[in-house]
Structures are given as C-alpha cells and as structure tokens.
Amino acid sequence: MLKQENVILDVSASSKEALFESISKVALETGVVSDAAAFVEGLKARETVSSTGFMDGFAIPHCKSTAVKNPAVFFIRLQEGIEWGLTDNTAAQYMFCLAISDSDDGSQLKVLSKLSRKLVHADFRSQLKTAASASDIVEIVNQAIS
C-alpha cells in the first residue's frame, strides 16, 4: 500500500499546517486526492478532535474524505521534529499520513489498523528511523502490513 512516490524524506516544515500543505501537494501530484485544499482541511479537522501524535517521535495524521480518489499511505520524515502533542512530549519527526476515501468498504481501514498496531512495537519504529532510503522504508512498511 505504501508506494515509493509517497515517501517524503527530509522535508522541513515549521508547523502542522505547513506540513499538511506539502503533503497535499504531493498527494495532488500523485493523484491521491482531487482537491488539495479539502484534504488539508480534513487533516486539520481531525487534529482538532484530538492530537494524532503517538510517541517516540511518531504521529499519524489521517482523514477520511471525499477528496481522496486513490487511497494511500504517505511516510514523511522531517529534517527537524515539530510540536505535535505526543504522549511522551517528544517532537514529531516521523509521520504516517493516511488518506482514506469516503467510499471505503473497510479494506483500507483494515490495512491502516494493522499499521497502527505495528507502530506500537519499538523495533518497527527503530527500523523506520534507521532506514537509509525510501525503498527501504517501502519494504519495511509493506512487509509489516502484508
């Protein structure tokens, strides 16, 4: 489910919003969403419900939106972590961003629930942190959720 074109490495962002903007740009280019602004709004709306921050530098912004044409997962690695409300107060530097289509029959959500469960495991997180290239990350993730 994770494609190499959706792995965004070493971007810099000053805020959640700025990051959502750049993810949406990529999402529009790769045909994941039809409307970048609506996708940003969806992600922001989810953050206002409660922070999607996990711990150990990880966060999982996500939203279910009609703007999503081809559901996808993005992996983002930031140059420098930003404040995200993580439970252990670390800065968020690694994100899985989940774009779920509104018409999902549950199969996308299934994959995402697997990914969420995987993220709880410290070894999975450290693999992602030490991965050298986008293709390594794609392999790690797809192996984990297959």
């Binding site: 999982i60 252990d88 469960r117 709880v120």
Partner: protein
C-alpha cells in the same frame, strides 16, 4: 490458571488510536502474564467481539474509549473506564490499576470504575441535576453579590451588634450596595426559569427551553397567578417535566413534511408554551403556590417553636448526603437544600431565608471522602497499601467537595463504610446548623470557609470544626468496623477456605 483481562478500545475517529491502544494493551497484558482479548470499536465496526463465555470468565474489563461504550454486557463484572490515551501511554499501569481498583458494574451504575462513579441512572434525577448544574453558576454569583451587599446593609450599634437592616440610598455607597443587593435578587429570580429551562432541555432538547422557562416564570410570579406567593422550586420542577414531556410527545407526531423545518423552532415551542400556560394558570399554579407557602411557613414555625428542629433537619440532610455518595438520595438532599434556600430568599428576603438544608448539605459533602482518608492514616493496618494510596486521592477529592471520592472505599465494604459515612455526615450537618452557619456559595469542604462565603458566628472556625468532628466520627467508625470485620474474617478463614475473595 492465569487471570483474564478483557479490554475495549475506541477513539474519536476510530481509525488509528483504537488499534494502537489495542496492540499496547495486548502486549502489556501478555508481558504481565495475563490472558487478554481486546475488542476494537473502530470506524470499521466492532471487531474481535467477546463471547459471553469470555465475559463470564474475565477477571477484569478495561474500557479505554473516548466514545460511548455500553456496559450492559458487563453487569456484575469488574469494570474500569478510562480514555484511549491511557491505554497507549501506560498500558501496564492501566492493567495494574484495573486489577486494584475496578469496581463491580451494577445495574444501578454507581460503582463503575473511576469515571462514572456516584452516577445515578434514575432519569428524573438526572434531568434535575442537569438543570441544577446549569443553574449553579447563577446561584453562586447571585448569592455572593447578595452576601457582599448584605454585609453593608447593617449598621453596628455601640456594643458592636448589627442592627437596623437596610440601605441608606441617599448616600452614594448606600445606593451602590442597594443596587448590588437588587442585582443578586434578580439573579435569584432568573434562576428558577433558568433551572426549569435546562431541566426541560435535558428531557427534550432545545424546543423545550422556551415553554419551560416561560412556564416556570409565571408559576413563580405571584402577580401573574394572583396568589400570595409563587410556587418556587417545586413549581419549577413540575413545569420543567411538564414542558419537557409535552415537547417530547409533540416531537413524535408525524408532522407534514412541508412544515417540518419550522416544527422545532416554531410549532412545538408555541404549542407547548400555550399548553403549559393553560395547565399552570388554570390548573396547578394556585394549589402548588399555596402548598409551598404552607410548607415554608410550616418549616419556619417549626424552627421557631422547637429550637432543635433545624438541627434535626441538618442532621437528616447530612445523613442523606453521606448515604449513597452522589447517588439519588444524595442528589435529593442537594436539590432540597438548593430549593429551600432559593425559595425562601425569594419569599422572605435574605434575612428570612432558610439556610439550614443547603448549609448542612454543603458541610456534609466532604465528610465521607475525608473520613476515609483519615481512617487510612489512623488505622493503617486494616487497609491494604493500595487503599492507603487511594486514601490520598479521596482527600484531594474531599478537599474540593467531591463526595464521590469515598466510593471506592464504600464499594469495598459497604456495611462498614455506609453507616460510618451517614453518621459522620449527619454530625457535620447538625453541628453547622447548631452554630447557625449560613452557606451562600463556595466549596463544600473545610476550604469553603476560605473559598466561598459562609456567614458564621466567628471567622472560619465553626465551619471547619463541624466538618472535622464529622470526619473524625466517620474515620473512627471505619477503623472500628474494619477491625471487627477483620477479626470475623480471620475466624471464618480458619474454618474454611472459601472462594469469596476471588469473587469480591
């Protein structure tokens, strides 16, 4: 055989955290050597659902959810409720805590875990408490303004006694305080419709507010009714339920589609307000107003005739507060105290107001949790080390006036704790009444004397003293009762080893 933990996780969006929490709990429970199963309530729906056999065999059930999860399946099981975040942050701690503190979920629902403690499932009481919770800020601000103005309404004679109640409106400060006093009175007048409006809102939502507020205003307005006095709080309660259920009924009518958009904003409030007016003016308004007048006159003459009468009432109210710690009996005492205070302020003015039940209730509120805390300090050997920690928790809650802090204790040994709570709370209620303390507003705890306004014969002490005596009585009764229970248990344990402990 290892112990069995069941857990339910669910987050607001139901996409990611539900499953993170599930995984965290599964890992932690396995690492701790428990059998575990986690039911996930995500957007996909409920997955990994428990069988009734699994529920039957579970030792403890953890609900880590930000969404509403029905507990109907778990009657008589030990259940602990918390948020999904807690399961992600510290799953081991949560499981440990669940084994230590989870309370049996009973049909009444007042002993479930640490979130919905002391809750009453009686829907009528729930609606009333909802109304009261909306009313309290107004009650406190109006009460404090009245109290402040009241201090300046007295002039002192040479001996320092306060005499001649009244304001000299000729002077600037007299005018100011008379207006301040009037401001408080307006607050009390508005409080009745506000209360009725939100009680009805709790029953039937927004369309019920208008009929209930208007109805409660007229039933409390002697000029409108043409009576001697208004029907006060009792009238407001009746109007609130009347309006609430009329609206609830009207909402069920299959209105024609074309007028649907205006049904909740116009049709229902209009019809219900008219119906309430007819019932109040031609029906219940006069009789209730006379009953209320007779009741408060009766209370007053009783208090005048028998000096002990208020003390008895104070003790009774205190006892009710301590009885079920936030359950229906406790709430009725609180409602009664608030009702008597607001009605008599409206009827007789602040001088003639009956503070007894309200003050006694507030003094009794913190007795049970503080008593439990003191007992854990004085009689350490009859408590488990966890209970000693829980005692500190109870103290913190007691200090801010939360009776529910005593529930984990009361639920563990009700036969010991409930009598101790009732008697200690009654003592506190009786003592503040005997001192003639008047509670205008603030915290229902010893701190109330600093955080709030309480009129008492000397500064601070009577209030604190009364509560401390009540707390000591409760603590001693708990200590004594638990020692007896321990002796009895030891004897029985010698006779036979029962499965009672595992069941508890």
């Amino acid at each position: 055989m290892s112990k069995k933990v069941l857990a339910i996780t669910g987050c607001a969006a139901g996409i990611a955290h539900t499953f993170m929490a599930a995984e965290s709990l599964e890992n932690a429970a396995k690492a701790m050597g428990y059998d575990v199963k986690v039911e996930t309530h995500g957007t996909i729906g409920v997955e990994n659902e428990f069988t009734s056999k699994e529920i039957q065999e579970a030792d403890v059930i953890i609900i880590a959810a930000d969404i509403d999860v029905s507990l109907d399946r778990f009657i008589d099981k030990r259940v602990m409720k918390t948020y999904v975040k807690a399961a992600i942050e510290n799953p081991e701690g949560l499981i440990k805590q669940a084994f230590e503190t989870a309370q049996k979920h009973s049909v009444k629902g007042e002993t479930v875990g640490n979130v919905s403690l002391g809750k009453t499932n009686n829907s009528a009481v729930k609606h009333l408490m909802s109304g009261i919770s909306y009313m309290i800020p107004m009650c406190i601000s109006a009460g404090l303004l009245l109290a402040i103005a009241n201090i300046f309404a007295f002039s002192a004679d040479d001996a320092g006694n306060l005499v001649n109640w009244g304001f000299d409106v000729e002077t600037a400060s007299g005018l100011f305080f008379s207006k301040l006093f009037a401001l408080g009175q307006i607050g009390f007048k508005l409080m009745i419709p506000l209360f009725a409006g939100f009680t009805a809102y709790s029953i039937a939502d927004r369309p019920a507010i208008a009929p209930a507020m208007i109805g409660a205003y007229i039933i409390n307005d002697p000029a409108f009714l043409g009576t001697e006095a208004g029907a006060g709080f009792l009238g407001a309660i009746i109007v609130a339920f009347l309006a609430g259920y009329i609206v609830k009924y009207l909402k069920q009518i299959p209105w024609p589609k074309i007028i649907m958009p205006i049904v909740p904003i116009m049709v229902i409030p209009l019809l219900a307000t008219f119906a309430v007016f007819v019932v109040v003016f031609y029906g219940i308004g006069h009789p209730i107003a006379s009953v209320m007048t007779a009741l408060y006159d009766g209370l007053n003459s009783l208090s005048n005739a028998y000096a002990a009468a208020p003390i008895f009432i104070g003790a009774l109210i205190g006892a009710m507060i301590g009885f079920d710690l936030g359950g229906p009996v406790n709430k009725i005492a609180l409602i009664f105290g608030t009702a008597v205070f607001t009605d008599t302020v409206a009827k007789y003015g602040i001088q003639g107001a009956n503070f007894v039940p309200g003050t006694a209730a507030q003094a009794a509120i913190s007795v049970a949790p503080l008593g439990a805390w003191l007992a854990t300090k004085l009689f350490k050997n009859v408590f488990s080390s966890d209970q000693v920690v829980m005692g500190n928790n109870a103290m913190a809650m007691g200090m801010v006036g939360i009776t529910e802090g005593a529930i984990p204790f009361a639920a563990s040994k009700p036969l010991v704790f409930i009598p101790a709570n009732v008697i200690g709370s009654a003592v506190a209620g009786a003592l503040v009444t005997a001192f003639g303390a008047k509670f205008y507003g603030g915290l229902g705890s010893p701190l109330g004397t600093f955080v709030g306004y309480i009129e008492q014969p000397m500064p601070f002490l009577p209030w604190i003293f009364s509560i401390c005596v009540g707390v000591s009585v409760t603590a001693c009764m708990i200590g004594f009762g638990l020692k007896q229970a321990q002796k009895k248990a030891l004897k029985e344990a010698e006779k036979e080893e029962t499965g009672e402990v595992a069941h508890a």
